[in-house]
Amino acid sequence: MKKTHNINIGNSIIHIEEDAYEILTVYLNEVKQHFSKNADDFEIVTDIENRIAEMFAEKLSAQQKQVINVDDVQSVIQQMGSVKDFETSEESPEEQISGPEYNPIKKLYRDTDQAMVAGVCAGLGHYLDIEAKWVRLFTFLTMFIFGSGLLVYIIFWIMVPKAKTRIEKMEMRGEETNLKGFANSSLHPFAEQSRGFIAGFIQAMGEFLQGTGKVIFKIIVGSIVVFASFFLLGTIVALAAFLGFWNSDVHNYFPISMVNEEYLFAMTVAVFIVLIIPLLALILFSIRVGFNGRPINKVLSYGLLLIWLGAVVTGIYYVAKVSTEFKEGAEFAQTTPLKVHPVYSLNINMERFFTKEDSLNYRIDPARYKGRKILNSRDDDFNSPRSISFKIEKSTDGKVSLSTNFKSRGKTFEVALKNAQNIHYDFLQEGATLSFSPVLHIPKMSNWRGQEVELTLSIPVGTEVQISNEFYRYLKGGYNYWDCEREKGAEYTSWIMTDTGVKCKFEKEKKED
């Protein structure tokens, strides 16, 4: 069984076998190219085509058959003469010498004959004149760079057509697609090409899937489409939120709070495009593979790829811009003297800072409040990086003081210092009880610039500090809190300042026991 084509040549319809068709196409293209420098090329080529049609008709009726095969085409070509024959009897001798030169055009196809998966690497290998195994190695390695190799592979899989016909296979190899090239071609039309093991496996899989597994395959592809579509929808909703379609203060969340207001729109759109195009590609590809959808328009695919690359570049540009906002660092310290007590207790006091008014202002639900890393107004743990640190030091002059160090970064030193000065941090002394806020505040609508507060409590030797569990939870000081025994029922651990620094009271006593 052979595939046949219907061609219209010289206004008559001829059935022609596929391999014969390819040879004829090549021949007619050569003829056209040959006569293209002639002013009457159209008429000449039409005459030739008419004559070929006539010869075909004669052959079909003489042999009582319906289809033209390779032998027929070859005998017709022999009778009509090849382009080389035309050259020797050409009108002007100068042109003969130059003759038409064939610069074999290489085209990118997927080489499914030597495929490991879909023939993308093998095809690229032909195109770039590199052995396929190196392309494969490169692709494999780049898969570990955020899966970019995989993504690119899939994009190529979608966009690059498979080399189906002999001409396409020859174009893929950069062989001449004229009759001479046909003779020289390393390809044998009907010889089965050797396949890689994996490609063979995948083909076998494909055959299996065409049978019983088809349903399973469709379900898998279908669920990929559904999930990807949900994700796509989510991305669109997120975009809407980011662009402020409703009054969301999403820009106060930590990673986004870094981005300057004026960059936010462009950056959001860029990130959106970077996310959405591969998703779209995945969905379209899945539909194409799973449900025999139409191949994606090439112009559209390349257009999307270009837009995607553009968005990546835009994103990188803004990331770079934002990162310059962190160039310089500045800090300033503020020392508050405290009344001397033999024992201090350190507490976290949230109520103090989150009055009803605050809650309204910042949209905070104090009941749900449990964050220790919050800058401004939200109540999730992940909103901002850890921004308050606490330590206890020995005081040499017998006085007790709390020094607060405000740190920030900014584009210039001045900006950084201003950012540091804008940090608002509260603590309160009530007798021997020191109450600290678990968060620092920066003015609403300002950006996160690495604002930090370092608290240093200086106490003389012998002073005891009781650190409440809650305090420790929010303001870790680098002490082995859990190694320190608590008195039964106590909500705090006791620490004592010694000559060599602060020590756990009960751990120390235990050792003495």
């Binding site: 006539e54 008709a57 009778q79 003469g81 024959d85």
Partner: protein, 122 residues
Amino acid sequence: MIAENTQTQMRKGILEYCVLLIISRGEIYASDIIAELKQAKLLVVEGTLYPLLTRLKNNGLLSYNWQESTSGPPRKYYMLTEDGKAILKQLDTTWQELAYAINTSKKVADQESKGPINQTES
């Protein structure tokens, strides 16, 4: 190479004349022209004839009629125009002159070559 080139040039020069001669006998189809030219060993393949016919037609030496064919598309049957006939007459004279020139040269050459060849043979 030089011999080949000269042969090609000579054939080409004569080809046009021969084609006009063949057509001058009456309306004729391109592949019949080819058949005759092949007999005369002036042309091997059909493809070369079409550009020539087209050129002659465009120069006003030929015209053609479409005629239905039992096998395949309608055929172009070529014939000479008045211009073509006039040109053919001119070519006839030229050819006679050429034939005369060649024959004369050949006779002289033959006589000259016969001498030395005979000498070596004897």
